[in-house]
Amino acid sequence: MAVTRPGKPVQRARGLSDRAVAWIFISPTIVLLLAINIFPLLWTIYLSFTNYRANQPGRPVRWVGVENYERLLGSEDIWEYLQATAHFVGWSIFFQVVLGLGLALLINRQFKGHTALTTLILLPMMLSPAVVGVFWTYIYQPQAGIFNYIINFFIDAGSFTMIGDVNLAPWSIVLVDTWMWTPYVMLICLAGLRSIPDYIYEAAEVDRASKLRQFWSITLPMVLPFLMLAVLFRAIENFKMFDMVVELTSGGPGSITELASINLKREAFEKWRTGYSSAFAVILFVTVFGAGNIYVKFLNKVKQR
């Protein structure tokens, strides 16, 4: 290893200046994001003020001002889609946090074989959401499906269909998402638990603090930043949820599970109302961006405590 020789003055490094290295290292990422993310985003914003239709390239494009936005915010359907999205995001995250944190606390007891079990538990989140959606339609099938069979084994629920029922469908997607992503929250919580130094608990023991007290005043506050980070990522992912739900319910029955992204796809690639769908995309993005911004500021405050 490097040993600083005594007497040798600290000199500036050879080669490129730090400033140059920093720019060389950071700019490719920024350029890539500008080219394939920001440029299309600006294009989407431009399109949202026009009557452009992507399936009719020859049609003259007319600037329509905020007409698309007016129509969007004036339609009642939009609120329904946003409500469906909020229900999905809120409940799936709630269950994932409860189960994920619970599992992490249990696994942190470090019983024999906990690493192998952890690996096993992680598997669902490794799967492709679209493929998960497809095979859960099979699991939810009223007759051949294993889900109904198991439920009926324990309680006499009779014949029901998770995906086809207006009341059950919103929960069917929450359940699948919870099944998939609880391990994600668990893994991040586990990281948080392991970051707590032993001496804090030792000090608490010396002070004769009860286990419950230790949980509330040591464990929870120290895991909180990790948990909040997990929630941030899950919330963003679920807010733009498309693949799993589109394969599972395709937004049905009716439009009960038509989440924002599914509606967006319908408008943009089935009805080809590009201008209108672009306006919706902009509204969605501003919402997530705004909420995410506030949340990160809040998260940083919690971290600094």
Binding site: T4, K8, G15, A35, I36, L41, M126, A130, F135, F239
Partner: protein
Amino acid sequence: MSGPSTRSVLEPSPWSQRLAALLVIVYALITMIPLVWIVLTGLKTPPDAIAYPPKVFFEPSLEGYVNLFTARSRQAPEYMASLPPPTSWYDELVRKRNMVITGPSRFAERYLNSVIIGFGSTFLAVFLGTIAAYGFSRFKVPLKDDLLFFILSTRMMPPIAVAVPIFLMYRVLGLSDTHLGMILLYTMVNVSLAVWLLKGFIDEIPMEYEEAALVDGYSRMQAFWKVVLPQAKTGIAATAIFCLIFAWNEYAFALLLTSGEAQTAPPFIPIIIGEGGLDWPAVGAGTTLFLLPIVFFTVLLRKHLLRGITFGAVRK
């Protein structure tokens, strides 16, 4: 075994450990049911797959796998009778259903596309992510927090929201439905995750090592390659796995922007149509094959994955 004086006050009691183990095992068993079920379905015959009540015990068959990899057509019984005897086991399996194999399906092609695009984009994203994360971790960058937030915010965009402009842009550039186009696209999506994850890992590496190297006459680049990279390799591996999983599983862009050449497996699996609906054994077989590499990578790097996520890898 050992007396109470040697046991740490922090170590959970054996009783609570056993209870915790039991609860976690119950969770694992429940959560495994859907997975095991779909893998089993891949080994069923189509009638077994839609039997009521669901069949837990059945005679395994490779029909699902044969259906996954072949295209078949139904023939009249007279025509079937006129054929020469089957030349292979899979030929025989298909003929039992009064069908003949007309050629390979596109599954193998789609799978290969997933491999090429998955690894290509992972390599690029991790490369870009590592150097950018180093840049953010070690240097004074103007508007650093804003740039980092900008990078994160690119992930907030629903893919469908930018799909139309990307489609139009790719058409002009000749990138639509190409491997390169999809690799660049997935790199763009993954690089934000890579930067954020890797910045965490690199932040944990003590700066003293590099400073010592710099004092010893290394250039910044040399210090980065010879001192920082080796220490960050666990973090890089964990990040790579996350990126690979994302690219491997991505569906929305693949569905909307590819059709023939560069389409990956996820949009293909849901459209494996059998007679009267989806061919469930073939879907099960496709899902199983699609999941296998991910299981392999997860198990291979499970310790690093956990350590990586716990930020413990780079801490001494």
